[in-house]
């Protein structure tokens, strides 16, 4: 209220607000900086004053006057002191209609007047008996309508009387009322009942229709009640049908669950494959960066960094110097064009000048003598192949600088395989090599 000059931001109910314990916290930092704010404050204060004043006036009248009440002098006679409160909390019993014995009907003025006239000074019929009979007639009439299936859900024009005199006599035999008296009561009841157009007993009266505008017709069924017919509520019905439906739902959900589990497994596998590919690419990059010089992509697996017992260090390769000179090449770009006759020097990339290619045979000699030699680690010997009648496939007819050489090797199962495509690198085999080269170092290195 003291700030009239601007509109505060809306308050965020989730935001923690500081609690100022002293009014001084308010006033101290509120020192007026100009005469204008001073004036505003004054205006605000007078405003507050008048408000307080108004509130004060209101407070004196705040005792809102209400109508009065008096004590009924017959109360203690009307209500008997017979209630014993049990020690435990009282529990609801069934409604009166369910208990059955209770006479729900109370005679009204009209009934009393009729009875007085009927009795005419003698007590032919006590009020209590009339009460019971009217109550029973109402109940039996309602049952007759139930049996006939004409119970209206809402109050229409007229609720018919279906209880005949004979049926009424039969139903009320137990009360042993004189025929003549009963006849009078029945016709009195019937006349009253027809005049009312609806049951006399309030419990049995149908509710007014929703669109009824008569303000005396109260307690309409609420539209909300129709919500019971939504799917959600229907499923709650406790029947065999809904049991089956729920079982079907469960089966579907179980299937969906196993499907999803399989899906997860598949995706995990896919991720493993990608991980491995990434690892491989990294290793490839690392190797290229470390050496900077490679013969071709096929030489990649022969990575000196692998701490294998077969290939412990690159120095071992350096020992062999029996390489043909035409196979020495320079490479520094992993994906660059490969040409055996062109040397492309590039600043800072070439770390090592020339690396001799290790000879396959020398490699075998380096094996640990205790290590059994696996068949597929052995290179193919072209002579033996020829002797066995195995002819390597001929080169691709596609004219290219290097052509497509097939590479023969012994597979893990002992079969002789000719690769045209490096399964690991997804690159065509051969990068200009004319000679057949066994891939054994890669296999052994990864082994």
């Amino acid at each position: 209220m003291s700030r009239l000059s601007f509109r505060p931001r809306p308050l965020d109910i989730h935001k923690k607000l500081p609690i100022l314990k002293s009014i001084k916290d308010f006033e101290d930092d509120d020192t007026p900086t100009s005469t204008r704010t001073q004036m505003l404050r004054l205006v605000a204060e007078t405003d507050n004053d008048t408000q307080v004043h108004q509130v004060a006036i209101k407070k004196t009248v705040s005792e809102i006057p209400t109508p009065e009440y008096v004590i009924v002098d017959t109360y203690e006679r009307d209500y008997s002191p017979t209630f014993n409160q049990p020690a435990s909390y009282l529990r609801a019993r069934g409604a009166r209609a369910e208990i059955g014995d209770f006479v729900e009907y109370d005679l009204d003025n009209e009934d009393e007047d009729w009875l007085e006239e009927f009795n005419s000074d003698r007590t032919i019929l006590p009020s209590e008996t009339l009460e019971v009979i009217i109550f029973k007639l109402e109940v039996f009439d309602h049952k007759a309508r139930e049996r006939a299936g004409v119970i209206a859900p809402t109050l229409g024009t007229h609720v018919p009387v279906l209880l005949t005199f004979d049926a009424a006599i039969e139903a009320l035999q137990a009360l042993s009322i004189q025929y003549g008296i009963f006849q009078s009561i029945y016709s009195y009841w019937r006349e009253k009942r027809e005049r009312l157009h609806k049951p006399i007993l309030r419990r049995l009266q149908p509710p007014p229709p929703v669109n009824d505008t008569n303000p005396y017709n109260v307690f309409r069924p609420r539209e909300k009640a129709h919500r019971l017919h939504t799917r959600r509520m229907q499923r709650r019905e406790n029947s065999v049908q809904s049991f089956e439906r729920l079982r079907q739902v469960r089966r579907n959900l179980d299937q969906a669950k196993s499907l999803l589990e399989a899906l997860i497994k598949r995706e995990e596998r896919k991720r493993d494959v990608v991980d491995n590919e990434v690892l491989l690419q990294r290793i490839q990059m690392k190797f290229k960066n470390d050496t900077g010089l490679l013969e071709d992509s096929l030489a990649l697996p022969e990575m000196p960094s692998f701490q294998s017992k077969f290939v412990s260090s690159e120095d071992e390769y350096m020992e062999s110097d029996d390489l043909p000179p035409n196979r020495i090449r320079l490479r520094f770009q992993p994906h660059g064009p490969v040409d055996s006759r062109v040397i492309i020097p590039s600043a800072g990339v070439i770390k090592q000048e020339i690396r001799p290619r290790p000879a396959p045979h020398t490699w075998l000699h380096k094996l640990d003598p205790l290590e059994p030699i696996l068949l597929f680690t052995k290179p193919l010997v072209p002579e033996k192949l020829a002797a066995a009648g195995i002819v390597p496939p001929v080169d691709s007819p596609i004219p290219s600088a290097r052509g497509h050489n097939f590479r023969g090797r012994i597979g893990r199962g002992g079969r002789i395989v000719f690769d045209r495509w490096n399964p690991l690198m997804h690159t065509p085999i051969d990068c200009g090599d004319q000679l057949y080269m066994p891939p054994k170092p890669r296999i052994s290195a990864l082994h």
Partner: protein, 385 residues
Amino acid sequence: MVLEVGTRVLCRWRDGKHHPVKVIERRRLNSGDYEYYVHYTEFNRRLDEWVRLEQLDLDSVENDVDEKVEDKVTGLKMTRHQKRKIDETHVEGHEELDPASLREHEEFTKVKNIATIELGRYQIETWYFSPFPPEYNDSSNLYFCEFCLNFMKRKEQLQRHMKKCDLKHPPGDEIYRSGTLSMFEVDGKKNKVYAQNLCYLAKLFLDHKTLYYDVDLFLFYVLCECDERGCHMVGYFSKEKQSEESYNLACILTLPPYQRKGYGKFLIAFSYELSKKEGKVGTPERPLSDLGLLSYRGYWTRVLLDILKKHKGNISIKELSDMTAIRAEDILATLQALELIQYRKGQHVICADPKVLDRHLKAAGRGGLEVDVSKLIWTPYKEQG
């Protein structure tokens, strides 16, 4: 001398003084004289009553001719006069109704049909119209059985009923007992006639209660004082079994003989304790009456300021709401009405100066009877079997 409907005149009230009234209706007595149904313009409609000509100060008569012409006007077209008419009959608590429905409400309910009721130990003057079945229209006094709430036109009928009545307490489960005070939960669906009787009765004291819809969807919490004659209703509140607007209370009433004893505050506190047990925030259904608003403002003020007095550190409105089950909007409205939320240096702060809080707490009045939560044995409706 015969006065016209719409006449403004001074009338002697129960305090012996003359107050300005407006004649709402008149009727001819057997003697040939008229009696007049008057509205005291200073007070709420609940004090409207039938008076004899002797009570009126005829020198002060001021005929409002315009008004007479207007009374014949039907339809909802509003003239300036009609607007004024409504404006002045309604001081508080009616702001939320549009003029058209307010006028319809007024027209139908302008004269109380039942003048007094007898309920247990008390004969009580009624406050408002209640739509009892037309068969009861010829009776200005009704006799209620104080236990099953059946109503009758003659005292003898009540006395005969009392001999057979099988109830000594509301027909529901007792969910709270502390000393002589008990609270019963009555399901409107299981005890339809009782719940309807209760609504007819309550409407006599509540202006903007509607009996339009059935009682099935409500629970009734009936507060009783118990003695050797039974459990005597002192008040009640009703609550929707499932509220989409998060209402935790639909109607609330303390019967006039038991008013100003703290029962209303007890009922309000009880409604919030139920909400806490349900783990929900709640708010009363609107509109609130003048008395209802007063009670609620007092309750909110007491609950919130008690927390602010003790609380250390910062606190958000949401946290206050979670602690008290009071809806955040109601908390904001309460604190803002007390000017405890201020905007300072670009942020809102809560002023909790002990002196200021104590002053507000004093103005809010005493808390009334405490709800002892350990004595509440209750299962929320949703969890009941």
